[in-house]
């Protein structure tokens, strides 16, 4: 019941947000100009850019990559030297270079995979200044690339006057990024942060208080209650499909997610912008039908997974057979949330590339384990901010190509033909996930001394596969039992993170740039409609088949094999 209410509220709130986002990104005058215009103009002066100047796909891509490089280097240095920098009242020590590098790249790629434990290893400066900044800027950058791709699909902002083959204006990268932070992320995050603080999420720069426990004479005699500017970070962690929490166990920690209402707010924040982007795309492309189809496809897959995960966690954990009441799986879950809200979160956080958790994914029953991995592998059911919808468009291109082959026509999208060059680039995107994830999983599993997993048997393989999947999908959730703060894990994950972030954003930008320059063919009887049930079903099929082909064997070794293993254990126990 509360699950349905949370989903309904997310949809209801995403609708007005869509109108606002279309308003600020369409380039027309908007009421928010009065509030933010002067500040933005000041910022553009500092940056030395003319916001009205458009960029073609190359300039846009270069600006995106260079701004990431600069931000990454700064973040790495600040993390590396946190122990000598201010705002460290708890006297936290230095990070190893590989851990600092992994942390910087992980947050730069909007992944927030954490190989450190927040409250113990990062200073207030590292968390509240470096990481919070990256959590705002990286989703904005992803959204910017998504906007450029959408403009490319429509032939660019100068499509009316440009000739065929002429460079197209995909917008100004810096204007898009700054607006996304200033007008979208910051106001939303401030509201969410205050709501969370009211529920009990700490908001303080004081050193952490230490209190004696009530019953003395035990091994633990006092508790240090870790504080910090937590609410500010948790708000953007959820809203920006970031996922990196203040505390080690993320939003299962009652300080990070104190009440069921806080949990509802955080869950809604997790899907709000990704859902609004789908609506927004319909507005910007002036293709309402396409947006409706996208919403239906994503909604269908999302609800299917939510249902499966909730069912999975309502089943008893096999390890408890005969030892306790045969109720839902509460291992790694919190009493105030129960199994349903944990399963809902686990599903949405892996679909949206967020990666925050409110229950431990290592201890999920296998069906929910399968759902979480599917969400990350597909990576386009809502998806991360910007990158999720870009991934979705990639699936659309592939579906259009396959459907075109089936009906014997040159595939086209919104009147522009997909030809050899574009299809070759799509080919790269197709093999990339399996090539990267499976190669690294194979290497790591083959050398036991570097694996560092905490569970034996099939679940051990699943842990490694999960970690690389999460890195590539820029998700960031993990099977936390993995001993992942080693040089091998840090460095190999850095490579996977970078490949998983930049290629899936830049290649579609290239394709969109190439498409934009083409002549637009008017809609005719032979045009493949993208807004009807037939195409929706085709698209779902394409998404599922592609992922089955790439990952079925590894799923069999992981959660599917584990489910069979558990069935046999359960049989033995009875």
């Amino acid at each position: 019941m509360d699950v349905m209410l949370i989903l309904a509220l997310a949809l209801l709130l995403a609708w007005p947000l869509r109108a606002y986002m279309v308003g600020i990104f369409s380039g027309q005058k908007h009421w928010s100009d009065k509030v933010f215009g002067p500040v933005e103009n000041g910022i553009f002066k500092v940056l030395g850019v003319k916001a009205s100047a458009g960029m073609n796909w190359k300039s846009y891509g270069i600006a995106f990559l260079i701004s990431n490089l600069v931000l990454g280097v700064i973040a790495f240095l600040l993390l590396m030297f946190q122990h000598v920098l201010p705002m460290n009242p708890d006297g936290i020590g230095p990070l190893s270079w590989d851990l600092a590098l992994h942390t910087a790249v992980s947050f730069l790629t909007n992944t927030n995979q954490q190989h450190y434990s927040g409250q113990a290893q990062l200073s207030y400066l590292s968390q509240g200044f470096v990481i919070v900044t990256l959590q705002f800027v990286t989703p904005a950058m992803g959204l910017a690339v998504c906007l450029a791709v959408l403009r490319g699909l429509m032939g660019g902002r100068n499509s009316a006057e440009a000739a065929e083959g002429e460079e197209r204006d995909l917008g100004n990268y810096y204007q898009d990024t700054v607006r996304a932070v200033l007008r979208l992320m910051l106001p939303l995050a401030a509201v969410v942060a205050l709501l969370l603080a009211s529920q009990g999420v700490p908001s303080s720069y004081q050193a952490s208080p230490t209190v004696p426990v009530l019953e003395q004479g035990q091994s633990l005699t006092e508790q240090k209650i870790p504080l910090g500017p937590v609410a500010a970070m948790v708000a953007i962690k959820q809203l920006g499909t970031n996922g990196g929490g203040w505390y080690g166990p993320n939003s299962s920690n009652p300080l990070e997610n104190p009440t069921p209402v806080a949990n509802a707010i955080e869950t809604i924040a997790l899907v709000l912008i990704p859902i609004a982007i789908v609506f927004m795309a319909g507005g910007l492309l002036r293709q309402r039908g396409f947006a409706r189809m996208s919403l239906a496809v994503m909604g269908f897959l999302s609800l299917l997974c939510v249902g499966a995960a909730i069912y999975s966690e309502q089943q008893p954990n096999v390890a408890f057979t005969g030892l306790a009441q045969q109720t839902g799986n509460m291992e790694g879950k919190e009493v105030r949330l129960g199994t349903d809200l944990s399963a809902l979160w686990a599903t949405l956080t892996t679909q949206t590339s967020n990666g925050s958790v409110n229950a431990m994914h290592d201890s999920l029953n296998p069906v929910a384990g399968l759902v979480t991995r599917s969400g990350m592998l597909i990576n386009a059911i809502w998806g991360g901010i910007g990158c999720g919808f870009v991934n979705f468009i990639v699936y659309v291109w592939i579906a259009v190509f396959i459907a075109g082959l089936m009906i014997g026509r040159t595939p086209e999208i919104f009147g522009r033909k997909l030809e050899k060059t574009e299809i070759s680039w799509l080919g790269v995107l197709l093999v990339l996930p399996s090539a990267v994830i499976l190669t690294f999983t194979a290497i790591t599993v083959a050398i036991p001394s570097i694996t560092g997993n905490s569970n034996p048997g099939l679940h051990g393989i699943a842990q490694v596969f999960y970690e690389y999947t999460s890195a590539f999908a820029n998700n960031g959730s993990g099977f936390e039992g993995l001993g992942d703060n080693t040089q091998w894990w840090n460095i190999s994950c850095v490579i996977v993170l970078l490949l998983g972030r930049y290629l899936p954003l830049v290649i579609p930008l290239v394709i969109a740039g190439l498409l934009a320059k083409k002549r637009q063919i008017p809609v005719s009887n032979g045009t493949l409609p993208l807004h009807n049930l037939t195409f929706g079903v085709t698209l779902v099929t394409v998404i599922l088949i592609l992922n089955f082909l790439s990952f079925l064997p590894s799923m069999v070794l992981g959660p599917i094999g584990e489910a069979l293993e558990l069935t046999s254990i359960a049989g033995d126990l009875k």
Partner: protein, 216 residues
Amino acid sequence: MNTTLIVHAGSESALSSHHAIWRPAAGLAAVMLVTCGLVYSGSVTGLAGLLFPQQATGSLVLVDGKAVGSALIAQPFSSDVYFHGRPSSVNTDPMSTGGSNLAPSNPALRDRVAAESAVLTERYQLAATELPIDLLASSGSGVDPHISPEAAALQLKRVAAARSIPSDLLNKLVEQQTEAPQWGIFGQPRVNVLLLNLALDKDFPLQQSGGSASAQ
């Protein structure tokens, strides 16, 4: 439209295009660090501290003006005169929170649960299959402050006997301390163990010697 289009072409001088690439990137990083890292974090944290001073500083519970714990963080309890919380993989240390991370297929999980289940069936004289799950499953955070109302009901007799108070009086206190789903809809009914034990100490104070009553 009078917009200009920036196109990186070979004709531009190397220096000016170089400048045009790096300056905005560095500027963006600087502006964002100030805006998000300082202005946003600082103002939101400050405002939250003003509006919600108690919540913002860790929801500390005060007794006679002294902090005795956080309402959000479980404390360890093992004596018979107190209600006990959930198993914790981190000894309820809020600085090293986390779950067991044991998969359902892991024999270590079964071993742990079997050992604890044997202790509880002995202590409460119940069939194992009647033990509430939350007293055996370790929480995600390791500092889950709550137990289910069933888990509180199970412990009621033990605590009442150890404190020599009538069960129905204690039952009333437990009912008072039971929280319904928030706003009537969100989450699960639950009992905060620390708050219940504090209320217990207040309503039914222990005699000086009673505090050391040990388990079993």
